[in-house]
């Protein structure tokens, strides 16, 4: 046997995912779509905020659609479907994040009609979705007032990759002793300058600002 030799590789481990994501991003851009990837811990309020978002955008005449990832069950797809928007569920059966190829498969199976805004609700997890690009134009990290203001500091990778943070469940702020300044500081520490929108899907507070923010992203 010959001597071992060192070969340079210098290749991204997620090269394949990055390539698929890049292709999709280009297709989305050409189709004039805004694609939003919602990430947060389980229970932060992704589905409920998304439901309200779909209802409001539809009311404004936008064509919207959603893909939702969960480890098991199609419960969220059924909740979201009540908005009237087309929704598809991805069950990952154990996988803790969505990958670009999974999203592409869902899109291929979809009747091809124009969509202005596609939402992807990622699997609830503050770690694993970090490095998986889904071709989105906007990554939104949710932080509920009930989960601790320091979550961004504990999971900096995910919050750092987000384009915008949405603080959710503000109707519960008082009951949870939510320290708003601490939450804003934590977000700024992991992503200086990141815009933050404060919402309650229950009371409707802040939803107009959120919708306006989304509308401004339309090409």
């Amino acid at each position: 046997m010959s001597e071992p030799r060192i070969l340079e590789v210098r290749t991204s481990i997620l090269k394949r995912n990055d390539e698929v994501a890049r292709e999709m991003r280009e297709e989305f851009r050409r189709a004039g779509m805004v694609v939003v990837n919602l990430v947060s811990s389980p229970g932060s309020g992704k589905t409920r905020l998304l439901y309200e978002t779909l209802v409001r955008l539809r009311r404004a005449g936008r064509r919207v659609a959603a893909i939702v990832g969960d480890v098991e069950t199609d419960r969220d797809a059924r909740r979201l479907g009540a908005s009237g928007a087309p929704v598809r569920q991805i069950m990952t059966h154990g996988l803790c994040h969505l990958e670009a190829e999974m999203v592409r498969r869902e899109l291929l199976a979809w009747p091809s009609e124009h969509v202005d805004c596609l939402f992807i609700e990622n699997v609830g997890n503050l770690v694993c979705p970090t490095s998986w690009d889904l071709g989105e134009s906007l990554r939104v990290a949710l932080l509920s007032v009930a989960e601790g203001e320091d979550k961004p500091l504990k999971y900096p990778g995910l919050f750092n990759t987000a384009d915008v943070a949405v603080i959710t469940k503000t109707d519960l702020a008082e009951a949870c002793d939510f320290d708003r300044a601490a939450a804003l500081d934590a977000l700024a520490a992991v992503r200086p300058g990141m815009p933050v929108i404060e919402t309650s899907a229950k009371s409707g507070a802040g939803l107009d600002a959120w919708i306006t923010f989304l509308e401004a992203r339309r090409p």
């Binding site: 481990i13 090269k15 750092n160 200086p192």
Partner: protein, 125 residues
């Protein structure tokens, strides 16, 4: 536990590179993992042991190079490595900065290959 997905890709990439270079087996893989990549070194090592089974990497060692977060400070006009991951601020002047120059890496840097044609191929491939 997304480390298994990652380990499987490391094995695939390394095995393909080894094959292209005419090698028989891979004896070591070096990966670079940024502190913001949300990958746990220990979990990756455990996942790698599973993923390598039955592949040309079956005997391979995994080396993980930990890549610190590096920021660009527009005030100091300089790059700097951070000791901690957060806060993202210039260690010299304290100015918050989101301008990252390193920290999200997730890459296979190199492999060590053994094989009959190992001496003649690889270097320029």
């Amino acid at each position: 536990m997304h480390e298994l997905s990652i380990a499987m890709r490391v094995v695939d990439l390394a095995a393909a590179r080894c094959r292209d270079a005419g090698g028989d087996i891979v004896t070591a893989v070096t990966v670079r993992v940024g502190r913001l990549a949300a990958v746990h070194g220990g979990a990756l090592a455990a996942a790698f042991e599973m993923a390598r089974e039955g592949t040309p990497l079956a005997e391979a060692t995994l080396r993980v190079v930990d890549v610190p977060v590096r920021v660009w400070c527009p005030q100091c006009r300089a790059e700097a490595d951070l000791t901690d991951v957060v806060p993202l601020a210039c260690p010299a002047c304290g100015r918050p900065t989101g301008d990252l120059r390193a920290g999200h890496e997730l890459e296979v840097e190199s492999i060590e290959v053994v094989g009959p044609r190992g001496d003649t191929v690889g270097a320029g491939a």
